[in-house]
């Protein structure tokens, strides 16, 4: 399973230097609001009076795990990390910081890939890690109520013991926490099957910037009484308040889970296979991911690829999962779908997982894409949503753009079933950002995505990496105006995750 570790050797001085330069370039206009001040030793004293555990350190290494992000592109300079153990403590922190006009960065698993979970300057970090209690699990209705600091994988294991499944699954499951998942409206590989977090959260407890605790928790699924406030906080990336508890709807654990790893010669064939899968597999289709040859080549150096064309990888491989209540029924459908795909020529090779080890190994291949490229060199990361007709065209477009830079490889993978592409450009062996490469990619890629009717951030969010593109490439001015209005209502002092999500004031 992927697990995100923060040994300080992850950030080599070379990469953090370059990363900082890149971060500076991207966020030079992202200063924290002029009305906020940096916390000082007195603030530390005051916070320590209000809550049980606060860390303070002037030593960069000690708090590195909180200040440095997973991609290595961003690093804050916070000296204070609050570790509240209750909702009341969260409220105390926010109340104090709101009064003192000190910026607060709520932090869950710190697995954001858009710099959303680390400070930009010296904002106080509010770690959710100790809010990791399970409040209850209603196993008749499948409703889990728990603290925002629960690690996703531990929740998956917990509900599995009650024969249920968490409705989200992503590569970062070993480190990400549910509060972060909800705050970022995380997607993942089961988005198609179970819908977005909006569809699965039935309640939450959230603390507003002024310390007010909103109990929006629920034990029931349908409730049309008033504005459904919780949806504002889902995907708000910690800019409206801090989520302290969630109530999430869990589906029953499928008794049958099958995985197929298929190979196609062209992206057109991938699309045809997807349509065929929807027709033939119907309600048991749970996930449909793809990885291209260039990415498979990188994975292949570290893991065994189940199907290859002699020594080479196929142009495209598909990872398909079915879930159901009857293994015989599912296998029969899966075999007939696979036979049809081969007969039609959509699929040229592949394998069906024969046991759970093979199921896990195949998912490992898909989930290791992100961690693997991070080890290889600098990553220029893009997470886009496109209509399927345009999905892979953009990758080919980028390769053409970068023809003058042969050291830059365009590697792709993604949740093709919901139109989400993870397009990454990597420079193997070189961990520094190249301004020329950036100039070739941006803003071209954003303009291309917008022209094709897609989104410049499908599931990763905006953080500090893409917030300034919100107005330019994502939403029209009048929409951004309403968003800013909402922000001013909830957080008039702008203390919540300053400089992120919304375009920063310049």
């Amino acid at each position: 399973m992927f697990s995100c570790s923060f040994a300080s050797n992850r950030l080599t001085s070379a990469s953090s230097c370059a990363a900082f330069h890149l971060a500076r370039r991207l966020v030079s206009t992202t200063t924290t609001s002029m009305s906020l001040r940096s916390p000082n030793a007195n603030d530390f004293q005051e916070l320590s009076k209000r809550i049980d555990k606060v860390l303070i350190s002037h030593d960069a290494q000690t708090l590195l795990k909180y200040n440095a992000d997973w991609t290595g592109h961003y690093q804050g300079r916070s000296k204070i990390v609050c570790q509240p153990q209750s909702t009341q403590e969260v409220a105390s922190i926010l109340k104090y910081c709101n009064k003192e006009k000190i910026g607060v960065v709520p932090q869950a698993g710190n697995t954001s890939v858009v710099g959303g979970s680390v400070p930009i300057q010296e904002e106080v970090i509010l770690s959710l890690e100790r809010l990791d209690g399970i409040v209850s699990f209603d196993d008749e209705n499948g409703i889990l109520t728990c603290g925002a600091g629960c690690v996703l994988q531990s929740l998956q294991e917990k509900v599995a013991s009650y024969s249920h499944l968490m409705p989200i699954d992503l590569g970062a499951k070993g480190s990400c926490q549910i509060g972060g998942n909800v705050s970022t409206n995380a997607g993942g590989q089961y988005y198609y099957r179970f819908g977005s977090i909006h569809a699965n959260i039935i309640g939450m407890e959230v603390v507003l910037p002024d310390g007010t605790i909103l109990d929006l928790l629920s034990k029931i699924q349908k409730d049309n009484t008033g504005y459904d406030l919780k949806h504002l906080f889902i995907g708000a990336e910690g800019t409206l308040g801090v989520i302290t508890k969630v109530a999430i709807k869990c589906p029953r654990l499928p008794t049958a889970r099958n995985v197929a790893f298929l190979a196609c010669e062209s992206f057109d064939m991938v699309r045809k296979t997807l349509t065929c899968a929807k027709d033939e597999l119907g309600e048991i289709l749970a996930a449909f991911e793809f990885i291209d040859e260039q990415m498979l080549d990188q994975v292949g150096n570290r893991k065994k690829i189940p199907v290859k064309h002699g020594e080479r990888n196929y142009p495209f491989c598909i990872l398909l999962e079915t879930q159901g209540s009857n293994d015989e029924h599912d296998m029969a459908k899966l075999e007939s779908f696979v036979e049809k795909s081969i007969t039609l020529g959509n699929v040229v090779d592949g394998t069906l997982a024969q046991d759970m080890k093979q199921v896990n190994d195949m998912w490992e291949i898909r989930e290791s894409c992100n961690p693997i490229i991070r080890e290889i060199g600098y990553n220029y990361k893009y997470d886009i949503s496109l209509p399927l007709s345009d999905y892979y065209d953009i990758a080919e477009e980028m390769r053409e753009r970068l023809v003058s830079k042969p050291e830059a490889l365009v590697v792709n993978w993604g949740h093709v079933i919901d139109g989400n592409l993870h397009l990454n450009i990597i420079t193997p062996g070189d961990f520094s950002a190249d301004e020329q490469i950036i100039a070739l990619i941006e803003p071209f890629i954003f303009e291309s995505v917008v022209r094709r009717g897609g989104s410049i951030s499908a599931e990763h969010g905006l953080g500090q990496s893409k917030n300034n593109y919100l107005g330019k490439y994502a939403k029209k001015d009048d929409i951004v105006k309403v968003m800013k209005l909402l922000k001013s209502i909830f957080d008039p002092n702008g203390i919540m995750n300053p400089g992120k999500f919304l375009p920063s004031t310049k």
Binding site: T255, V338, G350, T351, Q354
Partner: protein
Amino acid sequence: MKILVGVKRVVDYAVKVRVGSHGVELKNVKMSLNPFCEIAVEEAVRLKENKGAGVSEIVALSIGPKQCQETLRTALAMGCDRGIHVQTDLRGDYMELQSDAVAKLFQKIIEEKEKDADLVLVGKQSIDSDCGHVGPMLAGYMSWPQATFAAKIDVEGNGLLVERETDQGTETIRIPKLPAVISCDLRLNEPRYATLPNIMKAKKKKIDTFQAEDFGIDLEPKNKVLEVFEPPARKEGIFVDDVNQLIDKLRNEAGVIP
């Protein structure tokens, strides 16, 4: 050389089993090919692919309910030529059908159906009963040489050279002449994925079915299972605040340091 490979259908190794009133709950639980049997199949197929070994045919044998046909199809998709299914609804996880009966069924299959079998490959043990008996028992009943926990198998003249795993290290056994029985251990190989073209071809390969009761063997368990229970839940660990507290607990509570 004709190879007979034993393939057992067991609870998938990744499943968290639960204990009910009649032992481990098998209803609706994912079943798969026993991992050590999978290694045995892979070795048989590699021997066949190695032209020097002169393997003419690989026959896969499974004993159990009708779903064993799926297990046999997996073995066929990996490269076995034919399958034999000995049908019985007796539980193979030690609760009903036990090692002695299984070894005798293997013996009957060899003596009555596959007289020219030169080599029997089995997994070192199955992950449900964890007995590891069938290989050695079969060798005993057949009076054939045996090598267990094989980590490497090489063809040598008319026989085989087998490296076997022991707790003290690797032991090399020479089997000068076939037939023989070998049980396969983890390090022997990494089983291949069954690719789709082979999975489809496997559907056309022959599987013969026989009834376990028709071989005149006493299938009753020789050992009586008294009780099946889950191991006690692991006690939660504690956090200590510093090294001194750790040393204190190790010394005075756990009693593991003087």
